[in-house]
């Protein structure tokens, strides 16, 4: 490592006073080794090719919540686009660069993100929130990878039973006169929430608006607020005394 730094200095890339190199983990973990071993064995066994895997990795790496945030911001600014988003989420996604069918390496969607997006529009009297009670279906092509808590049985089971309480645990208090509608994702249909535009954002650009439309706002466990651009950090608690359910 010291040798590399010396070489960088010699070539004028290591000036004093510049940003220090970002810290990195300098040990190989058993989990890192396991991931590679599983992948290599799968390739050896002919389950997929190294080239297939590279293409999928590139695709997964490209996913994130920004396209969905832009879709929401556009819908806030353009009533016609808003109508399109609610009527045909897949078509509206094209306007923010997401092709549900052709973007994935398969060229016909992905096995875990079926090509049907529904955009659920919140109103002053209706709040939507998204879950997948069966596993962790999520609109990944437009919203990226799901957060850990979204995958947990605690969120999945409890949200459909006690949505108001679960939302309050995220810090979101919904008035009693507002209906909460829980959308249960499935293999055929994915959902995202189109939250209401908050007060105090008059005259904002699409980029400014997109910054406050966080992932959590589009799952429905938060609402956009001027100045808030990050998601709530929720610790995932394990059950200490789990109740065993019998069929």
């Amino acid at each position: 490592m010291a040798k590399v730094i010396d070489e960088a200095k010699k070539h004028g890339h290591g000036h004093e006073g510049e940003h220090p190199p970002a810290p990195m983990v300098e040990e190989v973990s058993d989990f890192e080794v396991l991931e590679m071993a599983v992948r290599e064995l799968a390739i050896d066994k002919g389950l997929f090719t190294a080239e297939d895997h590279r293409r999928w990795t590139e695709y997964v790496h490209s996913l994130g919540p920004l396209p969905a945030a832009r879709l929401v911001a556009k819908a806030w600014l353009d009533p016609e686009f808003r109508k399109l988003a609610v009527k045909d989420g897949v078509k509206a996604s094209l306007k923010v660069g997401v092709d549900w069918i052709k973007s994935p390496p398969t060229q016909f969607g992905t096995p875990s993100d079926y090509c049907n997006l529904r955009v659920l529009e919140d109103t002053p009297k209706l709040k939507h929130v998204v879950v997948c009670t069966l596993c962790s279906c999520y609109p990944r092509p437009i919203l990226g990878q799901s957060p850990e808590w979204y995958r947990t049985p605690a969120y999945r089971r409890r949200l459909v039973r006690w949505p108001r309480q679960v939302l309050s645990e995220f810090g979101l208090q919904i008035p009693p006169d507002v209906e909460i509608r829980v959308a249960d994702s499935n293999q055929k249909t994915r959902y995202m929430v189109l939250p209401m535009r908050p007060a105090g954002t008059e005259g904002w650009s699409e980029e400014q608006l997109a910054e406050i439309v966080t992932r959590d706002c589009m799952i429905g466990v938060a609402v956009p607020k001027p100045g808030v651009t990050s998601n709530v950090k929720l610790p995932v608690h394990r059950a200490v005394h789990p109740v065993h359910h019998h069929p």
Partner: protein
Amino acid sequence: MATLEKADLAPIGVLEGIRRRGRPWEDLAAQYGVKNPDPPWKVTLDATCDILAAESCASAEGEAEAAGSVLPVLERRAEEDELSSTLYAGVPFPERQLLALAHSMIRRGLFDEEELARRMKEVQERLTSA
């Protein structure tokens, strides 16, 4: 839904070793002052899960051929849920997702425990040889 039988949820030696001694990303990141919330291998793990669920795979000649999913999403996730609340309950995410995937693949006979142990040794030597 076809999920693993009770017996299939029994511990697997090579994975038990990793569960016991493996250092999860949250520990490593804290020790080395790294801010990235996810380990670098998470994206390749997700790609592996996706591609195993695909309903057709490229043949050696590069032609798409019809084939069933090697490991359908619903089965993998159901097994991950089960294993995450039992064998790998003490393991953080996404490490437990990885252990559950390896567990499901071994129990399906996609590779065996000895092959995995051997390959891990090779990978370990390769990564630490420089």
